[in-house]
Amino acid sequence: MSDTTIAYPSSDPRQLRSTTGAAARSGPASKRVVTGYGFWIFILSDMVMFSAFFATYAVLLGQTAGGPSGRDLFDLRNVAIETGFLLASSFTCGLASIAAETRSAIWFQLAMAVTCIFGLGFLAIEGSEFASLVGRGAGPTRSAFLSAFFTLVGCHGLHVSAGILWLLTMMAQVFAKGFRADIQRRILCFALFWHALDIIWIAVFTVVYLIGSAR
């Protein structure tokens, strides 16, 4: 059977046989794949960096220098709310990715705005938690345990802050430039970043808060 039926991309959703796909695959991978893969490598190296902070925290968990321990300090109800916010924002970020691929500007802006609100809510709770810890004399200078705690959780919070700035930038760029190919690549990278932050938060609430308040 002859394979000249390649001009029907609709019957070939993965574009495995389309001519453009063939052209892209005979040479280097498409720009979207190269960009996404490069950013994936960055995310993995970011996780390696976080693993060092996690190792530090785990080693210093008992070194409270006579000060308060996790059991005295952590409010698990707040942590549960933070977790819910970040999880919901990850979900709406996924909806924004779908909206970007279907080129629906309204749904994209709406999903990104909801993602932003959940992210800001997360940061607000984390900020008030940090402020109350410092106010109670349990700041990062109190003990090695608290230094490790503020470094690890604060580093994740900084990532979320940077993510929100990026999110607002993407909303503005889609508004001003539309769904161009380069904007789509940035949206892909942003989605990777945001979902990766949620994965790191799983480790944070498990290791720092749940295991940390058990002892």
Binding site: D3, I6, P13, R14, L16, R17, G21, A22, A24, R25, A29, R32, V33, T35, G36, Y37, F39, W40, I41, L44, S45, M47, V48, S51, A52, F54, A55, T56, A58, V59, L76, A80, T83, G84, L87, A88, S90, F91, G94, L95, S97, I98, T102, L188, A191, L192, H195, A196, D198, I199, I202, A203, F205, T206, V207, L210, I211, S213, A214
Partner: protein
Amino acid sequence: MTHGQDEVLSRADVAPGDEQAEGSVRLRVLGYLTGLGLAILLTATSFFVAGTDLVWEPSIPVALVVLAIAQMGVHLVFFLHITTGPDNTNNVLALAFGVLIVILVMAGSLWIMANLNHNMMPMDQFMQMQR
């Protein structure tokens, strides 16, 4: 196009985070909803296990770590769309290398520091020697 070429083409890569499914928007939203549901279930179990007296206490940290790893898997599959398909080989290999380094850093640090702690002189004796 020959079948040989066809085989080569089907091994092309897909960007991490990109979904290969050809499904409708409804199906893709359903995929994210499934991930959200599983993640909520695992998170709720984690918080329940941490606060309960029903489970043998020394097993709680292990159970929490297992639940966390399971939830990370759910996020990777349903939110980041990392699959075991041939178009994802590069993404999975990079992830595997990252996981290897993460395990080495964490397990290695804990092991070495526990050893040092065990072998070190208690602090008060050390202070006396300094005099």
